[in-house]
Subunit: 364 residues, 2 copies
């Protein structure tokens, strides 16, 4: 009878498709229930009869009911936004890096698998990196955050820790605190150095990432450790800091190394873009790779297999990294004060850019 009253009231064919979205009240009327019961039915509470639940669900279906998130959040601020935030450090450190681009793609996919959405933001030009994050947190835009391109002593980590907001990091900053993180294996660079030593190289140089980032320090430390483990003298002058994460940084760094009075016979770029920049520098000097000098990269971006020579590099399983980051973050959202570290081991992909140490070692 209630249903009948509804039908005549609303017109014949269509159930109030008129203006805006149907509300819970509309569903309740159609189902012949109170708003309360309809809410409980749709949210799977226990004290609702099976029959009622069915009617409620069917009515919701029929009306194309979609709950109003604003209202829900207003009533129950703890309900969360079903959104995760991803933040970049600065406007100049961006997705030009194909590694970051791929990582982002992987994260987007994993996020939607879990029914979440992704919120992406960066500080404006005149802001501190942490400012954009503060804004997002204040507005409760996301349930948790992924921090990329960590700085050595990253303010964002301490801010989120203090605010008790869940987050996950790629890489391990110096900042103390309990949180979840995904990091590369400690000994990743060892296999690269090992490979070079097997080929007879003694003087192994490095093009390091710009200082100030957590990952820069880490890779540097593991590189020197790897050298020591192979009884090579860690010659400080064979390590050059690049001034960017991109190809041009790699090129100028390589040129600096070639100016050395006794240049290395092999060089490891701490990411693929740096290595590719190094290759460009070598090519324009007329040097042959790997004939005159061997080059190794880090990340294994898709391009590494398509340049000439193809690039020997430490492969990071970028899809898996993205998945892990999101999974860890969701775990952190469920259990805020947790502390966990997932280690992922890069794998050396041997290609054309590495070869035996040249016999007459003095190039240039």
């Amino acid at each position: 009878m209630v249903a009948e009253a509804r039908n005549t009231a609303n017109g014949d064919e269509r159930p109030t498709l008129s203006s805006s979205r149907p509300t819970l009240r509309d569903v309740a009327e159609l189902a012949g229930l109170s708003v309360t019961q309809t809410s409980r039915a749709l949210n799977g509470h226990s004290d609702v009869a099976n029959d009622s639940r069915l009617r409620a669900e069917q009515a919701a279906q029929e009306l194309g009911y979609v709950p109003n998130l604003a209202a829900r959040r207003l009533k129950d601020p703890g309900s969360g936004t079903q959104t995760i935030g991803v933040t970049l450090t600065s406007t100049t450190q961006r997705f030009s890096d194909p590694f970051l681009g791929d990582l982002l793609s992987a994260m987007v996919d994993e996020v939607s698998c879990h029914g979440f959405e992704m919120h992406l933001f960066s500080p404006t030009a005149d802001e501190e990196p942490v400012a954009a994050l503060e804004r997002s947190v204040r507005h409760k835009r996301a349930d948790g955050y992924v921090l990329l391109r960590l700085e050595s002593d990253d303010q964002r980590v301490s801010f989120l820790s203090d605010a008790h907001v869940p987050f996950v990091t790629l890489g391990r900053p110096q900042t103390k605190g309990s949180y979840r993180r995904v990091v590369g294996a400690e000994d990743s660079l060892d296999s690269a150095v090992s490979h070079l030593v097997d080929l007879g190289h003694q003087r192994v140089g490095a093009i390091a990432l710009p200082p100030g980032y957590a990952i820069s320090d880490r890779r540097l430390i593991h590189f020197t450790k790897a050298l020591e483990r192979h009884d090579l003298t860690a010659d400080e002058s064979l390590i050059t800091m690049a001034d960017s994460f991109q190809e041009d940084g790699g090129r100028t760094a390589m040129e600096k190394l070639l100016g050395h009075r006794q240049p290395p016979t092999a060089v490891i770029g701490f990411n693929d873009q740096l290595a590719i920049g190094a290759l460009a520098a070598l090519s324009s000097r007329g040097l042959d790779v790997p004939g005159d000098i061997s080059v190794i990269g880090f990340d294994d971006v898709s391009l590494a297999r398509f340049i000439t020579p193809t690039l020997t590099t430490l492969r990071q399983p970028v899809d898996r990294l993205g998945q892990l980051l999101i999974q860890q973050l969701l775990a952190a959202i469920d259990d805020p004060e947790s502390d966990h570290e997932v280690v992922v081991k890069p794998e050396l992909m041997i290609r054309e850019s590495t070869g035996p140490r040249p016999t007459a070692a003095t190039a240039n």
Copy 2:
């Protein structure tokens, strides 16, 4: 008297700083105003005394008041989310393309300049491309959308048009409707062909983007037009569709072209990744670029300057594209039914990968 009652009720020193965020009521009490007036003061309405406005602002400042977005949106659904949505077509078409990565970066920057946030999403593996968009629209997650990687007859365009949701596209789909779009200049490929003709080339091949995308068709049309304009016969067999946007697609396409009984002496890849894949194919065949064959790309990703040989390519001003997309979208949000097209002209960057037509033309 009201203020006095308030004070005694709340205790002496602190104005209810206890637990969660301060509300408008707290600000009002501190300012000695009604909630109504405080709201109007903070929102810059006209019927509030200067003195009151000052007190309200100061109180808000002191309490660190941040308006509750959920409540605001609940009351006034037209107020918008200050968010724009960016959607990708499918999970496999992602930011591996450095062009898309750079574009996204540019958009993120521009978005934050305008005080907006960005919402990024993609359909899950088993969804239609339009499904993720529908979800986002239903939940009113964003005020408008940027559509990338448009398909020839893109369902998302018609869906958003029908739903009267503002959006902007990169490229021009076939779907009719009035909306804003940013497109490359019609004659972009003409300068590339012109350059090759100047170098004496007669047989110019193309590695086209996979079919089904708006941009694929467009570039193809302009390519053949450019050939005609230079009185070259448009030999269909010299045009190969790549089966992906990435390097491997370019490689296999190039190999196919090399299998031609009379291969082209110059090839244009319709994006840089395809061109780089082509270079890889040529290199593994032992062919010299540009000695044996010239190669041109499209986009000018940062890498184009660092491979060997450096890549002649049509530069897309990616930062400007990103800015324009966002600006157009914001304009569309202000004026929903607008129709506008912004044309951006790519510029030919001549580098090492193009040279004179080889004298003994029959390679291989």
